[in-house]
Each structure stands twice: as structure tokens, then as C-alpha cells.
Amino acid sequence: MAKRLDISDLNIYYGDFLAVEGVSMAVEPRAVTAFIGPSGCGKSTVLRSLNRMHEVIPGAYIEGKIALDGEDLYGRDVDPVRVRRSIGMVFQRPNPFPTMSIHANVIAGMKLNNQRMSKAQADEVVETSLRGANLWSEVKDRLNKPGSSLSGGQQQRLCIARAIAVQPDVLLMDEPCSALDPISTLAIEDLIGKLKQDYTIVIVTHNMQQAARVSDQTAFFNLAGVGQPGKLIEMDATEKIFSNPNQKATEDYISGRFG
């Protein structure tokens, strides 16, 4: 399942605007990679280019290469829909399908992948995925209630369950805890620790402690000024970044001496 991502010389555009420039990095499998950096430096933009969600925005495109276990994700005959099926995504704001039940939300992705699924199979996937997302015990008695009837933290875990139900190669998370209270945040962090045994995980976070707690690798992005493209400043093992980074900008940002 878990696969590695190799990014080389990535430039990302919104129309004419170059938002991110010259990013090269390797994302290791069965590990958590954290993206940190000030607001607007392009963390979300890079993350969304990894599963080709970036190009959903009109006029948006990339240059450079992103490879999943050596396979070019932007190759000429690669279908973006297929890429998204193998690289799952969890958004900043929980977004379960409000018209679908909890049960239907979990298997929504499965239904796209293989249309025919017996009831027993579906129930099994729902249980495994909800257990995987540490949500099963809280919702097992109300699987037919709408996904929007859950609390914010539960909704976010439902979205994680939905993403892992299709057994993706990589799981991308864009500030998955920023809309949640500390207890739900801890629940999700525990979950990330558990999921990394099976998945390649990339997480964007503004919370330094969170990055330090959950990630193995940390990438620090920065931008020179407003209207300038964001760049990858440095990437290293998380302990190294947080104790003894190579770049002064990284140290300033982490120690809070930075805007």
C-alpha cells in the first residue's frame, strides 16, 4: 500500500501567478511528513498538487515532476481521477456529504471504485474503516444518521474513515485539526500515529507542537514577500529541524521569532 513520493523542480501556478517555485523533495512511505511555514507560503498548494486537486481550480497548473513509486503522476496518459483514487485527502474543514448517512459516507469512495459490492462486504468495510478512524464505538448505533449530525471532531474522523476506506497509497491532510478542540485533536493525532504503519502521510499544520509530536520528517516553506512565490527552505528529520536546523529562517520560524 504505502508508496513514496518524489517531487522534483515543482513550480505551481494559479493562472499567471507563480505561487510555489522550485520544490524538490522525497516523501517517505510509512512515515508522517509535516509541512510547516507561514500563511500563504504555499503549503496547501503543494499538498493539493500531489493528488492533482490543484488543477480543479480554473487556470491552475504545474510544471515539474511528481512520481509515486517512480510512476509520473502528471504523465500524458494518466487520468487525474485515478490519481485521486490512490492518493486520499482530508480537508481543513470536515466535509462529510451532508445528504448521505454515516454508512454511505464511508463507502462513498468504494462505490466509485467498484460499483458492485454486497451488503456484507460494505458493512465490513464500514466497520474496519470506522475502527481505523477510532470512530466505530461512537457511531455504531447510528450508522443511518446523516454525517452532518456528528460533532466537528467526529465528522473529521468520519472523513478520515472515508479516505482510508479505499485503502489509498498516500493520505494527504491539510490542517486536519485546525477546526477541532484539543481533545478531538489528540484523538486525530493518535490516529495519525496509528495510520502511519500502513500509509504514507503528509500533513500541513500551523501547530509546531503537533508537527513535532506526529511527524518523522518536516518540510519548512517560506516566501520572500507578498506576491513572491513560496519556496521549500529545508527538509529534514523532525528532531533535526526542531533542535538544530541548517537554515536560520527555519530556526527563527520555529522559535517564534518570525512574522
Binding site: 485521486r84 466535509n95 456529504f97 462513498a108 469512495g109
Partner: protein, 302 residues
């Protein structure tokens, strides 16, 4: 504070106007309601001997609803398809032009649609109706002989469908465009194709909007006068034969055709049919609201 007061005032005003209209209709319809059946056909020459008021209005209600339903069945799927095309498939330039044209179409007066139906559509429809009656005639509603010229309820329904298409399309398009990015991206990130994304996010979110749009269209079709009067040759029976002429009539067109030559009790009878139309329209709106609210818990609004 001022705003909530104004809103409340407007709400009360609307209720008061509705009540005033209902009372006006009721007062003026009362002579017809209170006249005994045998006297009714004596003093109003176009009511059949021995028919009661309800015997008279029944087929008209039937014709009204039938014409409007035909229009709705034809117009809704087309409108949804056009609205989806404009909102999710067409390139932005083209979508803008399309949206503009649709808004223009919604502003065309119904008599123009009536003229179009009578002068252009009718000749085109005859071969189609003949084909329907020949090959699908075993289905009762398509039973022949197909009328020539095809001044039938199906023609009226098609004209009405074209007439209500723009309003349903315009409202649906607005609703589809408002689908939260959050939900669209949730579907796309799971690996949904565009069509799957539309089915998972856009349509469920737009569901109550589509119903409201269809009901707006239905309301217009129920009350339409000119477009129907110009293409339908009227009849007063409960008939499902939509390819035959002289079978059905709708209330509004009937009032328009009969009013100039009516006096006394005849006018009261026509006003009574107007009261019934008013009630039907209210009922349609209430049912629509009920449908919309029934699944509020699952709606995209929360």
C-alpha cells in the same frame, strides 16, 4: 431591529393580500355556489343540462393539472440537463452567454410562446403525433387518431414546457453554482469523475432548489392562459387521450375565452373556477414546501 420589523410587516402584508384575494373570489363565486343545480344550467347556457357546479369545474381541474404535468415532465429533465451543462460543463465564456440567453427567454411574454406554438410548432408536431399514435397507440394515452391540426393537450403541454423551461433552468443553475466547494472537492478528492461529483455533491445539494424551481414552473403552467388558449381546441371531459383534440381545457384559458360573452351567474361560475385554480396553486406550493422540509435534516443547508 428595523429590518426584522420591516420583514414582519411585509410578511403580514402578503398574508393580508392573499386573504383579500381569497375573500374577493369567495364572495363573487358565492352566487354560483348557492344556486341549485337545476337552475344553474338554465341560466348559464354553456353548462350542460343537469350538470352541477362541480360537474362543470371537475374536467377543467383535470385539464389544468394534466397540461401542467405534461409540461413539467418534459421541462424538468431538460432544464436540469441544461443547467448542469451551463454550470459544470460549458467553458466559462459560453456559460455566460447561455445564462444570459436563458434569462432573456424567461422574460418573453406568454402570448409570444402561444404564437410560436400555433404557427411554428403545430405543423411540426403532426408527423410526430401520427408516429406516436401508430407505434405507441397501444399505450392508452397515445391512442389515435392523432388530431389534425394537432390542437391537443400534448401540444399545449409542449408549449407550456418550453415556456417554463427558462425559469426552471435559471433557478436550478443558480442553485448548482452555489454547491459549496467543500462538498465538490470532497467528491473529487475521492476520485469522482465530473458526473459522479455532480451526483454525489451537486444534485443532493440542489435537490430542494430543483423542487422549488419545478414548482415555480408548475405554478406558471397551471395559471397560463394565452399559450393554452391559442393551441388547444377545448373539450370538457376527463380524458387521458393527449393526441386527440377537443378533450380537455384548462381553467385560465377557459375563463379568458368565456369571460367576454358571459354575464350574471356565468361570471360567478367563472370566478368560482378561478377560486379553484387559486386553491390548486396554493396546494402545490404547500406540497412543495413539505417535500423540501421533509429532508431538511439531510439537506446541504447545515
Amino acid at each position: 431591529m428595523i429590518f426584522s420589523g420591516a420583514a414582519k410587516g411585509a410578511g403580514v402584508l402578503i398574508l393580508a393580500i392573499l386573504a383579500a384575494v381569497a375573500i374577493f373570489l369567495l364572495v363573487n363565486a358565492w352566487p354560483a355556489i348557492s344556486t341549485p343545480t337545476d337552475e344553474l344550467s338554465e341560466s348559464v347556457h354553456w353548462i350542460k343540462e343537469g350538470d352541477s357546479l362541480l360537474d362543470y369545474v371537475g374536467p377543467l381541474v383535470f385539464g389544468t393539472v394534466l397540461a401542467a404535468l405534461i409540461a413539467l415532465i418534459i421541462a424538468t429533465p431538460v432544464a436540469i440537463a441544461v443547467a448542469l451543462f451551463i454550470s459544470h460543463y460549458a467553458p466559462r465564456k459560453l456559460a455566460q452567454i447561455f445564462g444570459y440567453v436563458i434569462d432573456l427567454l424567461a422574460a418573453i411574454p406568454s402570448v409570444v410562446y402561444g404564437l410560436w406554438g400555433a404557427l411554428w410548432l403545430m405543423p411540426q408536431m403532426f408527423p410526430v403525433f401520427e408516429w406516436l399514435s401508430e407505434y405507441l397507440g397501444f399505450i392508452p394515452i397515445f391512442q389515435g387518431p392523432a388530431a389534425s391540426p394537432p390542437r391537443t393537450i400534448l401540444t399545449a403541454g409542449i408549449v407550456l414546457a418550453v415556456m417554463i423551461l427558462p425559469i426552471i433552468t435559471a433557478v436550478s443553475r443558480e442553485v448548482f453554482l452555489q454547491t459549496p466547494t467543500l462538498h465538490r472537492e470532497a467528491a473529487l478528492a475521492l476520485g469522482a469523475t465530473r458526473w459522479e461529483m455532480i451526483r454525489m455533491a451537486v444534485l443532493p445539494f440542489g435537490r430542494s432548489g430543483i423542487i422549488s424551481a419545478a414548482m415555480l414552473g408548475l405554478g406558471r403552467a397551471l395559471g397560463e392562459t394565452m399559450a393554452v388558449a391559442m393551441v388547444l381546441s377545448p373539450g370538457f371531459v376527463y380524458s387521458f387521450f393527449i393526441l386527440q383534440a377537443g378533450q380537455q381545457q384548462n381553467i385560465a384559458a377557459n375563463i379568458a375565452l368565456k369571460f367576454p360573452e358571459s354575464s350574471g351567474l356565468g361570471v360567478n361560475v367563472l370566478i368560482f373556477t378561478g377560486l379553484v385554480l387559486f386553491a390548486i396553486t396554493l396546494l402545490v406550493n404547500m406540497i412543495a414546501r413539505w417535500i423540501v422540509s421533509r429532508r431538511a435534516e439531510f439537506s446541504g443547508a447545515n
